[in-house]
């Protein structure tokens, strides 16, 4: 059994004055100093930093920078699912008794170059043997998927604008969020087109971030238990997927989780809304809405605190909390664990006992689900 006994985050922003190591230490030093004593392993989840602030064997240098010179350390790079992969590694080390305490540090840097360069780096999350070779960014694929969704299910653009509006309204309360202001759905449509039909307000902001988790075998003072981490790889490109509007890898990862566990109740979900359409397709892949109906459910408030569904992305999501690529799912796990412990400093989900983190690379080349539960 693996428990999260500590979780910390820094605010996501363009931290021009902070190196990758400094971002990591800022997050870790927010934990109680006692909680990083006797750490057996440091696992560093990072992705775009390898292109923006290159450092190979990053984990050993970060461990030294944290003053954890005698610990063991390794990196996990898995694009947008790096953080969830690191959490799986931490749980595995603890479950297998190879370690009793593991520090997971998600840290990533996106602001070292102008946005055009950063988008080029981000495009490498796509298949480099097809899309990346043609300089096709994530935004273009998201635009293709959103138009296909609108056309297939006859959903209008305004209905799809309620998601970013909801994310901004949630993020306003989150001290770690990058975009803490509200927007109306109409404003999403009026925003600058990035990859029509997608506008600037359908996508995540470029920001740096770091979050840390302490994973231990003992439940004492734990925020939550990591009950299970599941994942699956999918098609490398939406061109190969039999139905591009289904995220096969997420459906498989989630069914692997539900086969193992009785998930009668999920109170809170943090999912991977890199684009509005990503959120919509993930909600449908998790069967929280029928196909073609998720946008309408979002617009009707189904996923809010007052709605009938689980509360989705009370943090503000990738859209408004931010998306420091390799660190993002560490944020998500920290947020859900904090919700379950009742200590999340932003929008609180009352009486949350269980929660789910969904992490997806690109549009489904790899998907992770992390299920957390309160400690009895």
């Amino acid at each position: 059994m693996a428990y999260i006994t500590g979780a910390s985050m820094i605010n996501i922003d363009r931290h021009y004055d902070k190196s990758i190591r400094r971002l990591a230490s800022d997050a870790v030093f927010k934990l109680d100093s006692s909680s990083v004593e006797n750490v057996d392993y440091v696992i560093v989840a990072s992705s775009i930093s390898y292109l923006q602030e290159p450092q190979l064997d990053l984990a050993s240098y970060i461990a030294s920078a944290l003053g954890l010179r005698n610990a063991r350390a390794f990196n996990v790079e898995a694009g947008e699912v790096s953080g969830a992969t690191a959490v799986l590694m931490a749980k595995s080390l603890v479950d297998s008794r190879l370690a009793s305490k593991v520090l997971v540090v998600g840290v990533d840097k996106l602001s070292n170059y102008p946005s055009a360069v950063t988008y080029k780096h981000i495009s490498l999350l796509n298949d480099s043997e097809s899309e990346s070779l043609y300089s096709i960014g994530l935004g273009g694929i998201a635009g293709i998927l959103m138009r296909l969704y609108m056309e297939t299910y006859k959903v209008d653009r305004l209905t799809l604008a309620y998601w970013p509006a909801l994310m901004h309204s949630n993020a306003k309360l989150n001290p770690y969020a990058m975009l803490r202001f509200t927007i109306t759905p109409e404003k999403v449509l009026d925003a600058m087109p990035i990859a029509d039909p997608i506008t600037l307000l359908d996508t995540f902001p470029i920001g740096d971030g770091a979050a840390a988790l302490v994973v231990e075998s003992k439940p004492r003072d734990a925020l939550a238990e990591i009950v299970a981490v599941e994942s699956a790889v999918g098609y490398p490109s939406i061109t190969l997927s039999p139905d591009p509007l289904r995220i096969d890898s997420l459906e498989l990862a989630y069914s692997r989780l539900t086969e193992k566990l009785d998930l009668k109740r999920i109170d809170v979900i943090e999912l991977h809304d890199s684009y509005t359409i990503s959120a919509i397709l993930q909600l449908e892949s998790l069967r929280l809405a029928e196909r073609g109906k998720a946008a309408e459910a979002v617009a009707n408030g189904y996923f809010t605190v007052n709605g009938d569904g689980p509360v989705v992305n009370p943090s503000g999501g990738l859209k408004a909390r931010g998306h420091p690529i390799g660190a993002t799912s560490v944020y998500q796990v920290a947020e859900v664990a904090s919700q379950i412990a009742g200590i999340f400093p932003g929008l609180k989900v009352p009486d949350a006992k269980s929660g789910l983190v969904v992490s997806v690379n690109g549009f489904g080349s790899n998907s992770y689900v992390v299920y957390l539960r309160g400690v009895e």
Binding site: Y113, P114, A116, V117, K120
Partner: protein, 356 residues
């Protein structure tokens, strides 16, 4: 007439062209640089083509070659020589011929090289191919003339220097759309137009490109051809000359005794500009788009530096079957989008841009 000329065993199996869809008008260029309209009217020009931002002489050469291959209807791997004539190569060192050969599936058992002789490099490839095929060394040869011609911004050359490509696939005369009767080359060292290594734009001797260069070399080549074949201008149904502007071909035709009606069909420069290595060959392709079996065609490319080749071709009964297999020159002439001078500058990278 000499029956044993090697040319007569060789013919054109397929022809294809490509003209990018963008056009800039003479009025637009004149307005940008403050030229009087007399300047372009004297050149007999209306508008000219501009390659798009993702095009270059290699991509246009591929397009023209695909069209030629459709008409030739042969197995690409039977092509044993690929010649790419251009003065606007995307790589100064590294052949475009290999790229075209690879795209079309001609590689690896082939000759391939890029030729440079201003506007007549492809014509040299044509004459060399006749020799290769007549000697039995190769079965088919593919000759591309393609240019995204450069002009110093503000120079009069900007009115005419355009983009386009033509490909001819040569093979044995039997089954060809037209076969060669004879050919004749005339070459001297004449610095009428040049571009130094590393220089972005060519320079030219203005009037010096005319009498001692264009006119002298074409007249000598065509006269040499007609003398050797015992032909006179009235024996030809069509005459196609290199066409640096709208006026020169008519004038050189007149000097040689050709009538405007013989020249008109193959004169495309006034509406697409001077496509350099594509110039006379696109004119020839347009003639092949219309010519009837038995008709005789004169083709005389010219290249600065300087030299001209003259060819006589006889159209065969096979021409009709291959004609429909690919878009005609007229299709490309009609398929056009007018652009501004600033779009032209952007497309042809005349602006200094720092890339992230």
């Amino acid at each position: 007439m000499c029956a044993a000329r090697p040319e007569s065993s060789v013919g054109i199996r397929g022809w294809g062209v490509y003209i990018p869809r963008f056009r800039i008008s003479m009025v637009e260029i004149a307005r940008e640089w403050g030229w009087s309209d007399y300047q372009w009217k004297a050149l007999g020009m209306v508008e000219r083509s501009v390659a798009g931002p993702d095009e270059d002489s290699t991509t246009m050469g591929v397009e023209a070659s695909i069209n030629a291959l459709k008409r030739a209807n042969i197995n690409p791997s039977d092509i044993g020589a690929v010649f790419f004539g251009s003065e606007s190569k995307p790589y100064a060192v590294k052949p475009s011929a290999t790229i075209i050969a690879e795209v079309l599936g001609i590689t690896p058992l082939t000759m391939a090289s890029d030729l440079e002789f201003a506007c007549r490099a492809a014509s040299e490839g044509l004459r060399a191919s006749i020799g290769l095929i007549a000697s039995g060394m190769v079965k088919y040869a593919l000759v591309v003339g393609s240019d995204t011609s450069q002009a110093n911004p503000g120079d009069v050359l900007e009115f005419t220097a355009s983009s386009g490509a033509a490909t001819l696939i040569l093979g044995g005369s039997s089954g060809s759309a037209a076969y060669f009767e004879g050919s004749f080359s005339y070459i001297t060292d004449t610095p009428d137009f040049w571009r130094r290594e590393g220089s972005p734009y060519p320079r030219h001797g203005e009037g010096f490109t005319g009498e001692p260069a264009y006119f002298k070399h074409i007249v000598e080549a065509v006269r040499g051809l007609m003398d050797s074949l015992g032909l006179k201008p009235s024996d030809f149904n069509y005459a196609v000359f290199h066409q640096p502007n709208g006026r020169f071909p008519l004038k050189v035709g007149e000097m040689l005794g050709f009538k405007a009606e013989q020249i008109k069909l193959g004169l495309v420069t006034p509406i697409i500009g001077n496509t350099y290595n594509g110039s006379a060959l696109i004119g020839l392709a347009r003639v092949l788009d219309y010519a009837k079996p038995g008709e005789r065609i004169l083709v005389a490319p010219f290249g600065s530096g300087a030299g001209s080749d003259a060819y006589s071709l006889i159209v065969t009964d096979s021409i009709d079957e291959s004609r429909e297999r690919a878009p005609t020159v007229d299709y490309y002439i009609k398929n056009k989008v007018m652009i501004t001078y600033s779009q032209y500058s952007k497309f042809r990278r005349l602006l200094r841009v720092i890339r992230e």
